[in-house]
Symmetry: C2
Subunit: 189 residues, 2 copies
DNA sequence: TAGGTTTCGTATCGATCACTATGGATAAAT
DNA sequence: ATTTATCCATAGTGATCGATACGAAACCTA
């Protein structure tokens, strides 16, 4: 998982995986069928072990603004954990691929879309409860937040520290409309 | 350039380049030395032909907020041009690579850092002119804006339309402190 | 027109890719 | 103890990678 996270799907060779796992090629293929299946298992493991902060943040019984704050600050921490590759596996795992690996790229895109949809669901809930203005575009704001998190993933990969990512997250939070207030996400211009 | 933009450095094979350029392998190597040099030439061409909006926006004689607005909206348009690969070559060209292509990955990171530095310079100028609050962190805000643009690049790659990217850009602009106002980029929490 | 030079495409180089067949070592059974 | 069966690492499969050696064709000069 760490190798795929660091080098992406295609650039991670079986020789690297073999050495890291201490297994012979037949053992790997006996256990994981093929490289693509192994990658998908790594994705599932990543989803379960590394980004629990997202589900926690979005499902916590707190006001919407606080949920989003936890989401972004959780990302800041998860994307810069010491001893782990920087950024998010769903972003760096297969952003640009050869035509042969299109299926893997699509799989990751699906994960990213699911994250955005989860954010949108939480925003819609917050709107229903009155945490967010009536005229706020749930989809547009979810796309902004997902985009910010993806951007944090790139910044983390470029060496941003956890403190720098936290500042970025706090800055992004300033775009959130204050509760009860009625304003569009953007000023008209 | 389009092939590297779409598939990234490593996943773009010489066979694809050969077919796209209509050249024989010796012609390619005679003209560009090797694949890495060809990629660097593509980077320079991309810088000159595709992202002029950034330099224009940052050097235009307009208030800082307007400059940033032009920067983000220019990115929205540049990252979703019809007939062009989505996103930014500097992001998708080599985000995760094999150890052999580390030099290329570092080169792209340098481009991204330069973009962030250019934004920081413009912000520092705006602060000096009084467009921005005294206590605003130039580096922190530049990292936010660069991160948002990187995030827009991912969203564009996932199929976001130019309108959706514009909404994202407008949303991101809401994090900009209003002129003359004195506030930190983030509320304290 | 003949000779010498230069250009240029084909065919191939060694290396590495994901992946697997096979031979030897070990364990189980008679 | 001897045979049978099962496992498993080594060695190698065809394919493709980036890069190039070599022979043929074209061109300029004499």
């Amino acid at each position: 998982m760490h190798l795929f996270w660091e080098h992406g799907y295609e650039a991670t060779s079986l020789a690297m995986l073999r050495e890291a796992m201490g297994l012979t090629p037949p053992q790997i293929y006996n256990a994981f069928t093929d490289k693509e299946t192994l990658f998908r298992k790594a994705l599932m493991r990543y989803h379960q072990t590394e980004i629990g902060f997202a589900l926690e943040a979005l499902s916590a019984p707190v006001p919407t603004r606080e949920a989003i704050r936890r989401l972004l600050l959780g990302a800041a921490e998860a994307y810069s954990r010491p001893g782990k590759p920087g950024g998010c596996l769903f972003v760096s795992g297969a952003l640009a691929t050869s035509p042969q690996a299109q299926a893997v790229a699509d799989e990751l895109k699906t994960y990213r879309k699911a994250s955005e949809a989860a954010i949108a669901d939480r925003l819609a809930n917050g709107k229903a409860v009155g945490d967010l203005p009536e005229n706020l575009s749930v989809e547009g704001f979810a796309k902004y937040l997902a985009g910010v998190m993806n951007g944090m993933s790139i910044q983390a990969r470029d060496g941003a520290s956890v403190e720098e990512l936290r500042v970025l997250a706090q800055t992004a939070l300033a775009a959130l409309p204050a509760e009860g207030q009625n304003q569009t996400a953007s000023s008209k211009e």
